[in-house]
């Protein structure tokens, strides 16, 4: 008897069934992981049925596309915000909290794919905005590109706890956001605002030393600070005690998340959304780089799986 389960973010989408169905490693369908009988909790159209209808094959896969860079704006030494012109459908599909794409220079092969969260998607003009922090092999190779990028998407599992986020209506939400995690926070905030939620933001500019929440959302921060400092932790503790929060969003490293949960007990009682910080490499549940292990020791492909707990 599990009190947690995993759902595939792609289940029922245009990309389901996928390679994992072909190899009998489907995250959702018991038949497509070699079992004899139905044992799933998926409530959409049956994945097994879709697979058989496709002629025991996966559906079409996400392909690389070449898109023009409309703008590449540098913020300080190590952040670039790209504005890209993309097909209309892709812009629409990426206007989801947790959406991300892979980007790379046209000159390199897919070893250089970087998963980057969507910060904003304008479906009237078919423009998406991505914030890239330059700090490793792959990001250094896109730093100076001004004309075209190769991108692949849509992917949707950039945030964990999406079900909590999508259910939230007329509620109070607390955002604790550091550094480049401002980018996925923006899509999440704009989604929550559309559902009449109130958002309080505590922001730590972190290594990128820049606050672009102000430009891309309509909210003002409660506090601009260092999230690791004791005074900030005390402030958050007090904030949670005073107000009834229904949702907390933690955008930052796993170290930050562990620090916050370790020092603020009350956080455990609030529904949460956290950034998916695992090393995402293919986004398709194939390469294994994003694997974590659940409480039963089962490997979980976090590029596609959402944990559902009770």
């Amino acid at each position: 008897m599990a009190n947690q389960r995993w759902e595939c973010i792609d289940a029922g989408s245009d990309y389901c069934p996928c390679y994992l169905a072909e190899t009998m490693d489907c995250i959702t369908c018991s038949h497509l992981k070699g079992k004899e009988f139905c044992d799933c909790e998926w409530t959409g159209v049956c994945i097994y049925q879709a697979y058989i209808f496709e002629g025991n094959k996966k559906k079409g896969i996400r392909e690389d596309i070449r898109v023009p860079i409309i703008e590449a704006k540098e913020y300080g030494d190590n952040v670039i915000i790209f504005t890209l012109k993309v097909p209309h459908t892709l812009a629409r599909e990426l206007k989801q909290p947790g959406a991300y794409v892979f980007i790379r220079s046209e000159k390199y092969n897919n070893f250089f794919d970087i998963p980057i969260s969507i910060m904003d998607s304008d479906i009237n003009r078919d423009l998406i905005k991505l914030a890239v922090e330059i700090h490793g092999v792959k990001t250094k190779k896109v730093k100076d590109i001004k004309d075209y990028l190769t991108i692949r998407g849509p992917y949707w599992n950039g945030l964990l706890g999406l079900k909590n986020l999508k259910q939230m209506k007329d509620s109070n939400c607390l955002f604790l956001v550091r550094g480049i995690a401002q980018a996925p926070a923006i899509l999440a905030i704009n989604h929550l605002l559309r559902n009449n939620n109130t958002i309080n933001l505590i922001i730590d500019k972190g290594n990128i030393n820049y606050n672009f929440m102000k430009i891309h959302t309509k909210i003002n921060e409660l506090k601009n600070c260092n999230l690791y400092e004791k005074t900030t932790i005390d402030f958050i503790n007090k904030e949670i005690s005073l107000k009834n929060y229904d949702l907390v969003f933690i955008g930052g490293s796993d170290h930050l998340k562990d620090t916050l949960y370790g020092s603020i007990n009350k956080l455990n009682k609030i529904k949460s959304v956290i950034t998916n910080n695992n090393e995402i490499c293919c986004g398709e549940g194939i390469c294994g780089s994003c694997t974590i292990y659940d409480i039963d020791g089962m490997p979980i492909k976090t590029c596609k799986s959402q944990i559902i707990t009770n």
């Binding site: 009988f37 049956c46 049925q49």
Partner: protein
């Protein structure tokens, strides 16, 4: 402290019957149903009181669970009709019965939660503490009755059948059935077909009456049954082996198209290619009402039966009972009501620590429950179906003198056994 709470999962005939007897025995009863309607496959069935079902219905009424049979009798479009292999059947109108059952349960104070799909159990050793709903809410209870049936979901209907044919269970809309006994760690028993493959097709589909010729509709309305002989090239005896309802697996059903008037025109075949169907006189414009794709297939059943004792308690679990198809290779509404009524009554006995009621083998209901339990342990037994209405069990009923349509005879017998109105006893 409030009254002990009985939680019923699944609102088909068995679940409704269990809710009623549990309520009558004094419990606080809540019923969780995955879809937006009660009765499940009872919304497309309708055949009552044929052959030995008459005896079983009378027995259950005399045991004190009269309500549901009163409704099926009241809603019958035809009473006391005969069709091949079957005598004195009643056909209830499937288009009017569900709201009546719903109102009855509500009037009795049974709280029904529609569109609440149960997906897991929370247990401590062999005792279920609570069930978990799809929306992650937890429902606690003192005793639980699983009446989730054994049909579907879609992946099973595909692997063991011809795919989802869009039946009344509407899995794509309301989500898959979950075997709770399996979630509690009790392995399911699986029914087999004659060739050893798992599951069986539901045995009938329904045609929209308005799509049939005036002559057929008139005959259906007047007599309740229409028999159309099939051209030789369309006779398919193999179809008889696939279906659930062995009581209708007779040669007549392969050589003829048999239609019964249950509000829809019930076609006694698991599925029938539309093109072929429309070649028959009067059926030129026919279309399916249930399953919507009755031209290609039907739902697959018997993939999830819980092992149980004759008091309907699931083996290995302290406070889980089962009824209906979940409790054996049973076919039919009557069988569901008979087993459900017993499970509901016994759920209260479980709470009180009383010995469970087992129906004696000298009445048909008791014998069916015990006999099916013995047979399910045998390899051949998994290929049989158990129904008062026909096939091997009705033969057995006649041999053992368990079949009677004499109400007084049945009443005297139950009186002798001190079982009259036992389901009306308030235990709490």
């Amino acid at each position: 402290m409030g009254k002990p709470r009985v939680v019923i999962v699944g609102g088909g005939w068995a679940g409704c019957a269990a809710a009623i007897t549990a309520k009558k025995a004094g419990a606080d009863v809540v019923l969780y149903e995955r879809t937006d309607m009660l009765l499940g496959l009872g919304n497309v069935g309708g055949i009552m009181r044929n052959n030995g079902r008459y005896t079983a219905a009378e027995e259950t009424i005399l045991l004190g669970a009269n309500e549901l049979f009163e409704i099926t009798d009241e809603c019958s479009r035809h009473k006391n009709i005969d069709f091949p292999g079957h005598k004195h059947a009643s056909l209830y109108d499937v288009t009017i019965i569900e709201p009546k059952v719903r109102r009855l349960l509500e009037l009795m104070g049974i709280k029904i939660y529609f569109q609440h799909r149960v997906v897991d159990v929370i247990k401590d050793k062999n005792k279920i503490q609570a069930i978990r709903l799809q929306d992650d809410n937890i429902v606690k209870g003192d005793v639980f009755i699983e009446t989730t049936g054994s049909t579907g979901p879609m992946g099973n209907c595909l692997k063991y059948g011809n795919g989802c044919a869009m039946c009344i269970l509407r899995c794509p809309s309301f989500g898959p059935r979950v075997s709770l006994s399996y979630k509690a760690g009790v392995e399911d028993i699986l029914g087999q077909r004659a060739n050893g493959s798992f599951g069986a097709f539901s045995g009938s589909c329904k045609l929209n009456k308005d799509s049939l010729s005036e002559e057929i509709v008139e005959e259906l309305n007047n007599k309740g049954v229409v028999i159309i002989s099939l051209p030789k090239e369309d006779i398919n005896l193999d179809k008889l082996n696939m279906k659930v309802c062995q009581q209708y697996s007779l040669k007549e059903y392969a050589e003829n198209l048999i239609l019964l008037d249950t509000g829809h025109a019930k076609l006694m075949a698991p599925f029938y290619p539309l093109e072929k169907l429309r070649k028959l006189q009067g059926l030129e414009n026919a279309r399916f009402e249930d399953p919507y794709a009755g031209g290609i297939g039907n739902s697959i059943r018997y993939l999830s039966i819980a092992p149980r004792d004759n008091g309907m308690k699931v083996r290995g679990m302290e406070n889980l009972l089962c009824a209906g198809e979940k409790s054996g290779l049973f076919v039919g509404h009557t069988e569901a009501i008979v087993t459900g009524s017993l499970a509901g009554h016994n759920s209260v006995r479980v709470i009180l620590g009383m010995p469970l009621l087992e129906l004696p083998r000298n009445i048909a209901s008791g014998d069916l429950i015990s006999y099916a339990n013995e047979e399910i342990l045998k390899e051949e037994g998994l290929k049989n179906r158990y129904t008062f209405a026909g096939a091997s069990y009705f033969k057995r009923m006649k041999e053992l003198n368990l079949y009677s349509i004499d109400g007084n005879y049945i009443k005297e017998k139950l009186q002798r056994l001190s079982l009259l109105d036992i389901y009306k006893e308030k235990l709490i």
